[in-house]
Symmetry: C2
Subunit: 315 residues, 2 copies
Amino acid sequence: MNETKGNQSELALIRYIRNRFPKRRREILKGIGDDALVFRDGIIISTDSFFEGVHFDMTYFSPYVLGYHCMAASLSDLAAMAASPICALVSLNLTQNVSKKEVGELYSGFEKITKKYKMDIAGGDIVASPAFGMTITVIGHAKKPLMRSGARPGQALYVTNFLGLAEIGRRALRDKLPQKEYPDAIEKHLCPEPRIFEAQSLSRYSTACIDTSDGLSTDAFHLAEESRVKIVINEEHIPIHPEVGKLCSIEKIDPLEFILSAGEDFELLFTAWRIPKIPKVKIFKIGTVVKGRGLYLSKRGGIKRIQPSGYEHLR
Amino acid sequence: MNETKGNQSELALIRYIRNRFPKRRREILKGIGDDALVFRDGIIISTDSFFEGVHFDMTYFSPYVLGYHCMAASLSDLAAMAASPICALVSLNLTQNVSKKEVGELYSGFEKITKKYKMDIAGGDIVASPAFGMTITVIGHAKKPLMRSGARPGQALYVTNFLGLAEIGRRALRDKLPQKEYPDAIEKHLCPEPRIFEAQSLSRYSTACIDTSDGLSTDAFHLAEESRVKIVINEEHIPIHPEVGKLCSIEKIDPLEFILSAGEDFELLFTAWRIPKIPKVKIFKIGTVVKGRGLYLSKRGGIKRIQPSGYEHLR
C-alpha cells in the first residue's frame, strides 16, 4: 500500500468521476461517494482491488491468510453500510508463478471467512495478469443502510476498538520486528475482522457510518463532507493500544499523527445520539458533530482545522 | 490475451472452484457456471478483468477506445443473459505512468457506451498497481434470464453475425497490416458492440444463450455441458467473413479452425426451436441440439467429437 500523506490525488480523481457521472437511474439510492453502491431495494454492492507489492506482501502472507485478508477487507464495506453479506464474485489476476495449489489455499482462506458469514462465492473471472492480485465484488442486503451522509449536529463520533494496529502489524512484519511483541497488531494486519455483526447491532443507534480503511482523518473527513457537518475529533479521547504506543515510541512518531493517517483497521467510525450498548464490543467516543463544515482536531482546549492525511491508494 | 489451444487450465480451475463452493443462498438462482450471477429477483451481476499486455495493447488502443472496449466486453455478459444494464462499478488499477488526462479519456469512452445503454457508473475503486488494468462489474436486470443450461434436443444452434473478426482485427493491428484491408475486423476488435438489444428481442425465441468471448468451440462446449445435451456444429454452415477468409488465406490457416478458437467477438450463440426474426440482425443457423453429451463437428456427412480449443485466459 502507498502512504502518500497530504497527497489528495485519489480524492480528487473520485470527485472528478463523481461530477462526470451523476446518479441517473432510479433503482439506485446512492452511487459514488459512499462505501458501497446502494439500491433502493436494500441491495448493497462494493468492489475492491488488491495487488501484490501494493496492498500485500507475499514474503509474509500465505495464500490462505491472503484469501481471508482480502475477503475481510472487502466485506468491511458491507459492514460500513450495516449490510448482511449474501455473496462475493472474485476476479483473480494470476501471474505465471502462482501454482494451482496456491490458488486452492487462497480459496481455503475465502472459504474460512465466507462460511462464518454464511455467504456464497458465486462467480467471478480468472485471467492471466502481469501482476498477482484480485478484485472482489461483495453483495449484501441492508434493511436500513447506514450512509456516510447521515451525521447530524449534536451527535457524538464513535469508533469500535483501537486504531492504527493494522499498520503497526504491517511494519512489524515488513521490518522483521520480534513478532511476540506485536501479536494484536500482526493479527490485525493479516486477518482483520469485518464488523458485520457489530454494524447490524449499531444500526439501531447510529445514523452515519464508514469503515476505517484510509486512516482516521480521511475517514472522518468523508463523514463530515458527505453529511455537510463539522466534525471535531478530541485528541485526548483517541485510545492508544499499547502496541501502537510501543512502536511509535521506538520510531519516535507521534501516536496521534500516526493514527490519523494509518489505515486498514476496518473498524467502524460512526455518529450517534448516545453511546450504543453492544455486548462484548469496545466503543470509544472520540469526537462531536457540530454545525459547520470540515474536520477539526481539539487539543487541550485549542482547536485546529485538519486535512485528510490518510492512506491514499495512488501516488 | 493468451491463446492456449487445448490447454484447459482455466476450465479446470473454474470446475474446481465451483465444486468447492456450491450455491447455498436461496436469493441466488445461478452462480458459478454461467455468464453472470443471477438473483431470483432478476438482478444479474458479472465481473471481468482487463490488463495491458494480456487483454489489450496500448500501442494501438487509445484510452478512449479502451474505455469503450472494456465496458462493451463487460456488458456482453449481460447481453448473454438477455439483461438490461443498470450500472457499472469500475475498479481502476493505475500504474505511475497513466496521466490524469488519460484517465479522463478512458472515462469518456465509458461515457460514450454507458449513455447508449442509459446506465450509470455508480462507483468502484482506484488503486495503484504494478500493471495497468481494470475490473468492471456490471449490474443489470432480466425479466427472463437466458441461461447456458436451457438448450433442448430438437433445437437448432444459432449465432448472430460473423465470428473470428475480432481476432483478425487484433492480428491486423498487432502485425501492422494495411488497416484499410481489414476495416470491419479492426472495428470489431477495438469497439465491439454488446448485443444488448438483440438479446432482448431474442429472449422470445431462445432458451439458452452465451456470448462468444472464448471462441466458438469453447462457447458451444459450455452450452452443451451446462444443458447436458449434445451439440453438433455443421462446418458448412459457419459463415466466413471476407476479411477472415483473406487473412486466413494469407497466413495459411484453416478459417474453420480459426473460428473455432478465436474469441472476443461478443456475438450471441444461442439455441431456439425456430429461427428468430429480428429486424436488421444477421442470424445464422450453424448447428443442432440432440440427445447425448458433448460437442461435435459435422463435415461432409462425417461427424467427430471436438474439444474446446478456444482462448484461455490462463496459460
